[in-house]
């Protein structure tokens, strides 16, 4: 193998995000399961992968974007307590399944596998990391193998909030502050929610000391100057902030419903869950309100094939397929690098970003695949080297200068998934609330502010940020939990309206304010002065 062939990089980026779902006003709340499922199936398995790679001294590099709502939820005591209860229930169900399947050895073997899986999850969550998974991620960041970055405060779709520059600036600033408060350092990279870029956002990223971000392929291919190296080298946006582009081939192999690995017939079938299959009397304690069937996480079948009767899942066969798919992924990246080295003026970097929740939740074997890929890529005889974007930028200089074009990684590549007939009604309200907040803060400039007013102004800012989450219009379009998404947008806007009205009338009710602070307790150190129109930095006006 020549030196030229050896020269190329692979940067895998996982973006971990869930909307802020926390309902202390209810004894339990179904949508909180989104977090609990993701902890069990995605985040703890990922930590398991990172721990094993560290124990085996594998010199891998991986980037993980942790969204501020996820960071806040992982640190929240109420959700930690509720997750522990959820996990114990899963373990209890697995125990019951071992008994129920005693005459079906193939199923019982799987039930035992689930019991081991939940026991291990509990050991990692409770004993190893003391209910705080951020400790685990930070440990690997400190070791230099995992690069942690973050994204906008509530995952707001920045191009659609850009009617107000302050709205975008605060999504970025408060996102970074939340990351820093919880992880103890500033991120160098930034995940634009849904890779949604508009020309100009790089100015605000530079203000926040961000060095790089990610866009979809066409964001770079349609840049103001033709990119000399296609999507395989970053562009300097003109202010030193770098834009890296997603590689379509690496994405397709994992994401695509037609060609993607997760659809392989030997992998576990996501949709066939005992929550839907078993007698209601038996499964009642583990489903919603004892009578609405939901996913329990225990699934015994493999994908098998379209229109075929589902066959029992065979973990051994699935593991073999994982190896095969990981090798295939690496082979294809090697070939790309060999081809690119003949045309590029620098070592190519292949950017492979994925939603972290794909790995383990939708694609049960995803964490194993990732581990395999990182192990294979670390083989010294391999021409690929995994790298973080920061390290790539430290090695390479003199980047082409051009402005990427407006784009997202969503359906159709632009903004239509987040603004269409199902959800466009929200934008006039979001923009109006933002404008009212800015005016309110402006009107307070120079006045003496009581501690109650300060709390109310900060809470109003939290309400706006929570309403701006891109998750709500996404859900409205996807048609999944639309009632919940509508309720959340309405609640946050109503809470803002209440606070705005109370502040304007100087009629703030401490009891009501305390209730809102208890329910929406995200961003504890938020500073409402960030909404002052003339303000770019974080000093309070004297």
């Amino acid at each position: 193998m020549t030196d030229l062939m050896k020269h190329g990089f692979l940067s895998i980026i996982l973006h971990a995000h869930l909307p802020y779902v926390r309902h202390p006003e209810h004894e339990s709340f179904f949508e909180e399961n989104w977090l609990f499922e993701a902890i069990t199936e995605c985040y703890i398995p990922l930590i398991g992968v990172l721990d094993r790679l560290q124990n085996d001294k594998v010199p891998y590099r991986l980037t993980l974007s942790l969204s501020p709502p996820l960071i806040s939820m992982l640190r929240d005591e109420l959700l930690q307590t509720r997750y522990l209860k959820y996990l114990h229930q899963s373990l209890e169900l697995a125990e019951k399944e071992i008994i129920r399947t005693r005459l079906q050895p193939e199923l019982q073997k799987l039930a035992r596998l689930y019991r081991r899986f939940y026991k291990k999850t509990l050991a990692i969550y409770q004993d190893q990391y003391g209910y705080d998974l951020l400790i685990a991620f930070k440990k690997h960041h400190t070791a230099g193998t995992l690069k942690l970055i973050t994204c906008a405060a509530t995952h707001g779709l920045l191009p659609l909030l850009n009617i107000s520059e302050i709205a975008v600036r605060n999504q970025i600033k408060i996102g970074i502050e939340t990351f820093k408060a919880n992880l103890g350092f500033s991120p160098s990279g930034f995940w634009l929610p849904e890779c949604a870029y508009y020309p100009g956002v790089e100015t605000l990223l530079a203000e926040a000391s961000i060095n790089y971000f990610f866009v979809d392929s066409h964001g770079i291919m349609n840049a103001s100057q033709r990119p000399r190296n296609g999507v395989f080298a970053p562009l300097d946006c003109g202010n030193g902030v770098m834009a890296f582009a997603r590689d379509p081939a690496s994405s397709r192999q994992v994401w695509s419903s037609q060609e993607g690995y997760p659809g392989d017939q030997d992998y576990r079938e996501y949709y066939k869950d005992i929550g839907f299959d078993l007698d209601l009397d038996y499964i009642a304690p583990y489903i919603l309100d004892s009578d609405i069937r939901i996913s329990t996480g225990i699934k015994y079948y493999r994908i098998t094939g379209k229109d075929l009767p589902k066959e029992i899942y065979n973990p051994k066969k699935a593991r073999a397929k994982v190896q095969q798919h990981a090798q295939d992924f690496i082979n294809k990246r090697q070939q790309q690098i060999i081809d690119l080295n003949t045309t590029m003026d620098r070592p190519p970097i292949i950017i492979a970003p994925y939603d972290a929740e794909l790995f383990g939740h939708w694609w049960f074997e995803g964490p194993q695949w990732l581990e395999c890929v990182l192990r294979l890529a670390s083989n010294p005889s391999n021409p690929i080297q995994t790298i973080s974007c920061s390290d790539y930028l430290a090695q390479q200089s003199d980047h082409q200068i051009a402005t990427p074009s407006a784009s997202t990684w969503g359906d159709q590549g632009y903004f239509s998934y987040w603004i269409n007939e199902t959800n466009n009604w929200i934008y006039p309200f979001l923009h109006k609330a933002e404008a009212e907040m800015e005016q309110l803060v402006l009107d307070f400039e120079g006045l003496t502010i009581t501690s109650l007013q300060k709390r109310a102004l900060n809470q109003a800012a939290r309400s706006i940020l929570l309403a701006q989450a891109s998750d709500w219009p996404f859900i409205m379009k996807s048609g999944t939990t639309t009632d919940y998404a509508n309720k959340r947008i309405t609640d946050h806007l109503a809470r803002f309206n209440y606070l705005h009205d109370a502040i304007r009338k100087n009629n703030i009710d401490n009891r009501y304010l305390t209730a809102l602070e208890t329910m929406d307790n995200i961003f504890p150190t938020i500073n409402f002065w960030d909404y002052l129109p003339s303000k770019k930095n974080n000093e309070s006006p004297s």
Binding site: L160, P248, W255, S405, A406, Y427, P428
Partner: protein, 166 residues
């Protein structure tokens, strides 16, 4: 101050009932937002003085006059597109017939007369159209987000379409 779950729930419900968002604007306003390369979304308010009379008595349609930012100074002569807008609505999708790829656009909303004079009610912000993308297959969004609505879950389960694919 210690509040019970019931206190929180009652306060939450009361605020939702009494302060649910309502659109009102005392001054005319027009906002343009980017959607896709030839596609913008506009929403507007005609303000307190004009909204009711216009809806009830005027027969003149509303017109959105849209022009690229570079044509702003001579848009009265040419370089604009007039799009009829529904008077009974306060928002509408706007599809441009021949936009300049990636250009910035601005618009004015008003009543158009036979000599093409536009009696402007509101001017918009400036917004940039995304550029048409090259032929790269879109590969994201095959997998649904982590969401477990009970009805959807059930229908997805019944839909034997394969792993994680909706």
């Amino acid at each position: 101050m210690k509040l019970t779950q019931l206190d929180l729930l009652e306060i939450s419900q009361e605020i939702r009932q009494c302060y649910a968002p309502k659109m009102s604007a005392s001054t005319p306003k027009l906002i343009l937002m980017p959607v896709a390369p030839k596609h913008l979304y506009a929403y507007w308010s005609l303000g307190n003085n004009k909204s009711i009379p216009l809806q009830e008595s005027s027969t003149q349609p509303l017109t959105l006059r849209i022009y690229s930012a570079s044509d702003k100074n001579n848009y009265l002569s040419k370089g604009y597109e007039d799009i009829p807008m529904n008077r009974t609505q306060s928002q509408q999708d706007v599809f441009l017939s021949n936009p300049t790829n990636g250009a910035s656009y601005q618009a004015s909303l008003g009543t158009c007369f036979s000599d093409n004079f536009l009696d402007v009610i509101a001017d918009s912000n400036l917004t940039q159209l995304p550029q048409e993308k090259p032929a790269i297959t879109q590969v994201k969004a095959d997998f649904r987000p982590l969401s477990t609505n009970k009805e959807i879950k059930a229908s997805a389960y019944n839909n034997d379409s394969g792993q994680g694919i909706k």
